[in-house]
Each structure stands twice: as C-alpha cells, then as structure tokens.
Symmetry: C2
Subunit: 428 residues, 2 copies
C-alpha cells in the first residue's frame, strides 16, 4: 500500500470515494457492536461458573482458624484468602488486606482516606492548598476520575514501552512536595499493554519524595492476565520488596483483584502494603466497617485451592482472549500497514490495544465508528480531564464481543480510520 | 425482697458476705460467656444456609432486564433487589440504592461523602469550622465512632420510650446551622428496644433545619426484627413519605440491611432517599465503583422470592431469640426485682436490653462480670466518646450464646449487679 502522505490529491479523492461507498454498505448493516470497555466475554464468565457450586447448605463454613464465615468479624480477611491473594500479589500474606469486590473501590477509598485523614499521621490532603498526582498517559480513565473528583491536579507523564518517563517522575516527586501520588498499571498497562522494565521499577523504589506522604498507587490489574505461554509472558519486579531493599518500605500501595479472573463485581479485591501502612489503614477501617464478605472469600479460596490452580485457570482465559487480540492486530496490520496513518501496540497480555491515529483524528474516528454501529471508548478518555492534547489515542478493547463480531467491528474501525485520515489530508 | 436502700448496715454486710461467697463459687467454674455484641447465633445462621444453594453452575445468571449478574455494571442495584429491599424499607424501589454487604459501611460512606463533597451542592463539611451531630443516648457505639472519626462534635440527646427528646432536637436543629445530622435507630432502638411514636416521627418530618445540608441518619436496623407475633409488634410511621407530606422530601437518609436476616457480613445493604438525594449520591458512586456484588443480590432475591417470605423467615429468627430475651428478663426480675438498684427495658424486638444500674456502678459491674468470665459491652460504649455521665448504662446482648449459656451468664450478671450495688451502699 502507498502511504496516504505520499498520495496525490487525485489518488486521495479516489480513495475517499471508495471508502465512502464501503462505509455506506457497512452502515446499511445496522451493526451493534462494542469495543469500548474491558469486560470479559460470556465465554470467559462461564469458566468460573463452578465457583457457584463450592458453597452449599451442607458446607463447612469455618475458616482455617475456626471463624464462622457466615457471621460478623475479621476486618482484614480470612488467613487463607490473604495467602491466595498474597501469592497473586507476590507478597507475604501479612502484608495483605482483603476488601470487598472492587479494587477500583479500594483505590477510591485510599484517596478518600488520604484526603480526610492523611497518610500515617500527615496533614489530610483535603487541608492542603494544592495536591498533585502524576498520571502516565495514555492511562486508565477511572484512575483519573478518582483524582479529579477530589480536586487533585493531574500532571501528564508520557509513557514509553519501558514504563513512565522516569526522569520526569523523579523530577516531580523528588522536588515538589505537593506531588502526593502517581497512578501506575505496571504490567500489561491500560491501554498499551506495556510492562515496566526492571530499571523503571527500581527507580520507583528508589524515589526520594519531597513529600513524606507521597505514595505510588500500583494497580497491578493484569498481573496474571497473560495471552501467551510462559516463554512469551511479561515479568516485572515486585515493587514492595524493591522498596524494602531501597529503604523505602512505605512508598507503595498495591492493588489487585480477581475481577477478570472470576466474576467482575463479585470477585475479591485486595491491597498490599508495608506493616506501617496497613496499621494506618486498619485504624480507618475499624470505623468504616465490621468486615467484608467472608463467604465470598471462602468461595474463592475453595474454588482455586491454591495459586497454581488460579494460574492454570488464567490459561483458559488466554485461550479465549488470544484469538481476539490476534484478529484485531491482523486486521490493523492488513488494512493499515504501510499507510503511515497510525501506530498501535502489540500486547502480550492485559485487556487493551492502544491505537494512535494522525493528530486531531481520534474523536472523528470514534464518531465514525459510532455512526456505523461500533461503540469505542470515547477519544480523550485515556487522558486526565478527558483531554488528549494530540487527539490521537484510542483504546481498543477486544475482550467482550465474540470473535465473529470482533472481526466485523475491527473492519469498521479500520475503515473509519482510513476515512478520517484521507479527509484530513484532503482538508490539509 | 427488701430494697438495698432500706437495709441497715448489718443487713448490707450480711448480704455482701453471702454474695461474695456466691461469686467465689461462680469464679471457680471458670466460665467463658459473651453477652457483648449483637451477633446472631449459629442456630440463626443456619436458617439461611439454603441461600447457598440458590445459585449454582447451571443457574440462569441474568436479572429480569437481561443484565448478566456475573459481569460489570449496574451501579444502583438490579431491579428485583431494589424491589425486595424497597419493600423492607417501605419505600418505592426507585428510591433505593443497593450497596455491598454492610449498612454501617454505607453510613460511614455517607458521612465521608458529606465531609469531602457536601450535600447536594453545599459546602463540604470538612471545609467548615464546626460540624455537630445529635446523638440520642444511650445509643449505638459504632454510629458515634463514625462521627467522632470525622471530628464531628457530638451532643447527647436523652432517649424516652417515645424516641429522642424532640423539644431538644427541634431546639438544636432549627436554630444551630452547625448541626448537620442526627443518628436514629427508630425501631427497637439500640440498646433500649424503644420504637419512635407517630408524634416523634412526624416531628422529625416537620423539622425546619437551620442548615440546608442537615440530614436525619435513620438506621432502621431492626425494621422486621420482631420477637412476637403480629399482635405484639411495634409499628412506626415511614419517615420518607412523612417528609414528603411535610414538604421536606430531602431530609432523610434511610439505611437498612439483611445482616441479621441472612448472614452478617454477607447480606445486602441499602440506602433509601429522595430522588434529589439519590442523584447527589450517584454522582459520587460513579467515581467510587463500577458496581456492587450483583450475584449476592440475585442470591438474596431468589432465596426469598418476595418480601412476605422474608417476613416469614423472620419468624424463625424470633422463635430462637424470644426465649433468650425472656430468660434474661426473667432472671433480672427474679433476682433484682424489688431491690431498687436497677431498671431495664423489656423490648418486643431488636437485639438488645438496656440496663441502668445505680449511678457510678456500670464500669464496676462490667469488670465484675469479666472477672467471672462473662464478657459484656464495655460500660460507656452506649455514649459518644465512650463517656456515660452517670456511669449507669449497660447494653445486654442476648442473641449469641445458647439458651443454657445465656442463663448462666445472666446469673453472673445479676450477682455482679448486686455485689457492686451493696458495696456502693456500704461505701456511701
């Protein structure tokens, strides 16, 4: 294919005519497809259906220490759930707190706690004139929503395939005491699918924050969400132990959940941190609740038995997800390769592909898709305040549609990209 | 029995000698009993065991609108859960939000939201110099803990068998704009088991708060938790509709849960309020979470089918609880009747009996019980800041021990009351 930038006006006009005709055909099909959110498909949900059989009326409802999981009590989670989620989080069970069903909710709660009660005795963030967070971009819209909601100023930090630009991170964190946090998805990042390099993780562990109440918000959402077998999986260093080694044990809050392992909304969510951080958090939790759902903890623990089985379970997810990612990537390569109008990532795990169009085209592409019945994540959503300065990033979520639907949706997407791009060249 | 106050010094000394001997005997038994918390007994938990059979791997997991309860989504709860909890809360399903598993957590969350984001656009409470809450006393320790945790000043309001002293409530609420809330357990109150009279509820609905962001925190924790049949149940007016009638629709947040209907920690918790309040809350929730556990909602809805069945289910709880309450009351009457050293309530529902000793004796009685192996709620816990100005109130929780254990515990309790009282008279 000839790159659009090298086409003559006549060639561009011919291309546009052909694309317009194709687009009208597609529109006539009145499709209703969705590549907007990182939702597991029905086929994936069914992998965990048997978790619903684990507890029944004849079950033994006590945890391993004899606590009745049907009754009040146990603020931080039953020991066997701490072990399971600790293994998933690669930390000691004593560094875990098991919450309810949503890690996003733990992150919100963590920001809210810092806002009202500070961090290990520091001034509550809500009492300060200015609080700032660093936001690697593109990133996860719901992270940005939380910090925006608490009036926290967000600073864009460019992402690279190795992780956030660490020169910039160090410059801000080590010099500006108003910088209190950074949002990170360190493995198979949302939306790129990048995994932080060892050097990046070590530089995080060795930060020398100007603010004593600075914390790294480490959302390890896709820690075991590989698409390929062991030889082709990303591995990252474990940050809590790196922080300990660096003499900074309190620097990080780690978040994790089984939302995309068992059932979104009905999984287990957990936090990992240093003992000092956990004590600080437990003081808050003592006023906040009597305890989280221990029956759901028991259900998860008994369904998996151990972490090795959870990893085996993830292979079944991979078998469903891998062909979907590959179908989208194949379509992108086949239809857009050589046109020089876009770039995209090729993740080995996680839930997304990050797509960059020509500058100023993302909103128009998403609108075009919508016109043809394909719903995409709103352009801009991957940036704080919904503002992508280049208007070029689009997050593609291949998980939810069936493979057949996804192939159709991907065709609509590339067609929209080509149309908007050719129009840009014709207009410019 | 002769009242202690009418005894001569010699009679008191003889009584003390006899009681001391009894106490030594009891201590020798090395009992380990607990009347401290309102926990359902194992027998009660087993009433809901079959709820664990409701969902299994072959279940139909869609709610009535076709939403897959295994996946993300539905912020405010599935429609059938809103209907069930709406019936329990005596309001329209459209006035409901279903949360996670703990109503205490909703109350904490509500205070936290008012603190960080205000009420329907008002100044966040955290930005104000002074925020006050009214606290009917004796009351629920965990309510007081929440407001204390947010630095809210708590003002004691005496309880009567008709509800809080409404003259005082009106005086504070209608004149002091720093008064932002009041904690209420309107039915079978914690710890007295009192139910608010119709006049009390109407006076609440007709408050004219000085503060536009004043709200009534209406914790209807024991709405269907009767001990007796229909002829001997308490009924209270429904506050949300009374507020509407009074032209004050936004005055109340109602809280409810099935913690003591199904499983504490794994039940459903919900909030009821006006549409305007719900919209305000939903804005917050949109940043806070993607949605709560819909499988647990489905499990509850399918287990009960409808509210009438939930009420039937409560009769089974009553059959277990009633003999326990009656055993404690019988012991109190038999051993303390006529001594004029104590008063106590005789509830027709709820989870507690409120006991008042002679002034200055409560802490000593609880300590005596502890010495003999019977754990009681700490004296003072029923007051803000843990400070009972009379040091006389003790909350008795008869639910958790078996009937046989409870009878033993009640004997230890009355013995401790007598001993401490006789010592008071001898010292005075």
């Amino acid at each position: 294919m000839k790159a659009y930038k090298d086409m003559t006006r006549e060639e561009l006009q011919a291309e546009k005519k052909a694309l317009d005709a194709q687009f009208e055909e597609v529109k006539a099909k009145k499709l209703k497809l969705d590549m907007s959110r990182g939702k597991p498909s029905i086929q994936q949900l069914e992998l965990s259906n048997e978790m619903m059989d684990v507890l029944n009326s004849d079950s033994y409802f006590l945890d391993e220490t004899g606590t009745d999981c049907r009754n009040y009590g146990i603020l931080a989670g039953i020991p066997e759930a701490k072990r399971l989620m600790g293994a998933m989080s690669e930390v000691d069970p004593d560094n875990m707190i098991i919450y309810g069903t949503s890690s996003l909710n733990i992150m919100f709660d963590t920001v809210a706690r810092c806002y009202t009660h500070g961090v290990c005795g520091s001034t509550p963030w809500g009492k300060l004139d200015k609080v700032k967070f660093l936001c690697p971009v593109p990133g996860y819209d719901r992270h940005f929503r939380v910090t925006e909601f608490f009036g926290i100023e967000m600073i864009n930090i460019p992402m690279t395939p190795e992780g956030p630009d660490m020169d910039l991170v160090e410059k801000y964190v080590n010099n500006d005491a108003a910088v209190k946090g950074i949002w990170c998805v360190p493995k198979y990042s949302n939306p790129q699918g990048y995994s932080y390099s060892d050097e990046t993780v070590r530089r995080f562990a060795n930060l020398k924050p100007a603010a004593e109440d600075f914390r790294i918000f480490w959302d390890n959402a896709y820690s075991i969400h590989h698409l390929y077998d062991e030889d082709n999986q990303d591995v990252i260093l474990e940050l809590l132990s790196e922080c300990e080694k660096a003499g900074n044990p309190d620097l990080v809050y780690k978040f994790i959940s089984t939302s995309k392992v068992t059932f979104p909304g009905s999984g287990l969510a957990a936090l990992a941190a240093s003992k000092r951080n956990l004590e600080d958090i437990l003081k808050y939790m003592t006023a906040q609740t009597i305890g989280h759902d221990k029956l759901n903890q028991l259900r998860h623990v008994r369904f998996f038995g151990n972490f090795a089985n959870m990893q085996e379970h993830m292979k079944k997810h991979a078998e469903i997800l891998r062909p979907k990612f590959e179908a989208v990537l194949e379509t992108l390569e086949r239809e857009l390769g050589g046109l020089e109008i876009a770039e995209w990532t090729k993740p080995r795990g996680g839930y997304f592909i990050s797509f960059d169009s020509l500058e100023g085209c993302a909103k128009a592409i998403v609108a075009k898709c919508d016109e043809a019945g394909v719903k995409m994540t709103p352009a801009g959503a991957t940036y704080p305040y919904g503002k992508d300065p280049q208007d070029s990033n689009i997050r593609i979520a291949p998980s939810y549609p069936t493979l057949a639907e996804l192939k159709k949706a991907a065709e609509v997407f590339v067609l929209s990209v080509k149309l908007v791009s050719v129009e840009k060249y014709l207009a410019g």
